[in-house]
């Protein structure tokens, strides 16, 4: 059975169908890329899964249990963590305090939460900035922090919303390596990403969306050759 399943997921904004009857599955230990042109509804899917939006209809199951309609903090508690496309650190707090707050979800005492936070910061390569104010970090380090906060909640599924957006090519390599390391530690990953080089290299499978619907699914190399995908990105003449 798949770890995360979306079935007939639909979300309407007034007359606009941002996501329409979307179904896909993510197996335990997979890295799945969610791709598609701007406005395809990828971030909306993340907001639906993590409870920031309620689905108009459809179901979302984690390990067979329904999670659609739960509040964001309840979804995180069940084991689905996320990062935001536009990073959301607690800017006035130090990096360590940021991650400690997330670690409080699984640890009652401040000491335990802090040592958990230090461990996670080490994993994402941010340990040397632990005492810096989160608002003062470079973009790359803010993306690391965003991931560290999500990991500190000890998720089973990690949803990454454009973890590489705005990074330079060598930073993209570093970020890709971190994502692979996260999967190695047993966390299932779904990522929305526009940096194709990274998607092609690290994802096992991609789900391609266009106008809120799934138009293709499969290994990244074959999905990008799918005529429907080429048409979505470059127009019908290119396909």
């Amino acid at each position: 059975m798949a770890l995360l399943e979306c079935e007939g997921l639909t979300r309407l904004f007034g007359g606009l169908r941002a996501v329409g009857s979307l179904s896909f599955e993510v197996g335990a230990g997979e890295i799945v890329g969610l791709i598609g042109p701007n406005g395809a509804g990828k971030t909306t899917v993340f907001n639906l899964i993590t409870g920031f939006l309620r689905p108009s209809s459809g179901s979302i199951r984690l390990d067979g249990r329904e999670i659609a309609g739960l509040k964001p903090h309840e979804v995180t508690r069940r084991g689905v963590a996320r990062t935001f496309q536009i990073v959301k650190p607690f800017p006035g707090l130090s990096v360590r305090e940021n991650v400690t707050l997330a670690a409080f979800l699984r640890h009652r005492s401040r000491g335990d939460a802090e040592s958990e936070a230090d461990g996670v910061l080490d994993r994402v390569g941010l340990a040397h900035r632990a005492d810096a104010r989160a608002g003062e970090l470079t973009l790359m380090d803010q993306k690391r922090l965003e991931m560290a906060k999500a990991l500190a909640t000890a998720p089973r599924v990690l949803l990454l919303d454009e973890p590489m957006g705005g990074l330079n090519p060598s930073e993209v390599d570093v970020a890709s390596a971190i994502v692979l390391k996260v999967r190695q530690a047993g966390v299932t990953v779904v990522l929305v990403e526009h940096v194709m080089k990274a998607i092609m290299r690290i994802s096992d499978r991609v789900v391609v969306m266009h106008h809120g619907e799934k138009i293709a699914e499969g290994p990244p190399a074959s999905a990008v050759r799918d005529p429907a995908v080429i048409a979505a990105y470059f127009g019908h003449r290119a396909a």
Partner: protein
Amino acid sequence: MSRTAAIGWAAGVAALAVLPFAVRNVFLLHVVILVFMWTVLGAAWNVLGGFAGQVSFGHAALFGIGAYTTIILFLKAGVAPWWGILAGGVAAAVGSVPVGLICFRLRGPYFSLATLAVAELAKLVALNWEWLTNGPVGFLITTLPPLSLFGHPVDWEAKAPFYALAALLMLVALGSTAWLSRSRLGAFLVAIREDEDAAEAVGIDTVRAKVLTLALSGFLAGLGGGFYAFYFRYVDPDAVLNIGLSMEMVFIAMVGGLGTVAGPFIGAVFLTTIGEAVREHFQVGHLIFYGLFMMIVIRFLPEGIWGRARLAWARGRTGARRHGAA
């Protein structure tokens, strides 16, 4: 608790014990009692506004619930006011829960406006529910019940018993703020203040945290209101459900330093003494000076007096450490 904080608390309690013997002037003692009462109220606002960043303009309602509970329990049911103060705190805490569940659906300025509306509603209820509140006439306590402490009858015409009670309430308020600042809940509130969506994303039940904090805030504001009724012996809608009270609590917390433990005390010391002093000298227009002081603080000390002092202290220490290393 850090050593500096422990020394601070010990010195503070010692000063509280000595002060009434050092100050013989009745008016001065009255001002000190007011400072303590406003510290409680500033601390009440601070736990919600300073720590959680939820700006309420409606705390007069919680203050009023405390004041009315204390005076009504005494005049209609014969409950001694010192127990009534506690009941006032509990009533305000309980009353704040439904208010929180409704108002916390809104964020930022919309939340603030909703609390303003709640306070106005509370005042209208007090004005019109005459069976319970006596309407605009209000209540007056003519004689306080006799009480003996350690074999001595308490003299309710003196300032000393009220001084002791106000000091005790202030310790409760500052103590619970200190507890909050170290607790997990306190850490969650800071996260909510910084970014509410990010707080939810790391698994913090933001509504629960805010409602709990509002209940604590309501309890403290209710204690303050109960004390007001006991000390001034007079309660009517204009006196205890006035928008000015809500504003005063905001100002005290801001001038002292938002989200700090000692801030409300510092704010109350400055604002109460300045308020009383200019009222002495200028019968008309004394609020102008009060406003001027507020403007100066907001312009030059946005982190508050105590907030700025703490920053300077922290900077001095890191500076010294760097110097020591070099």
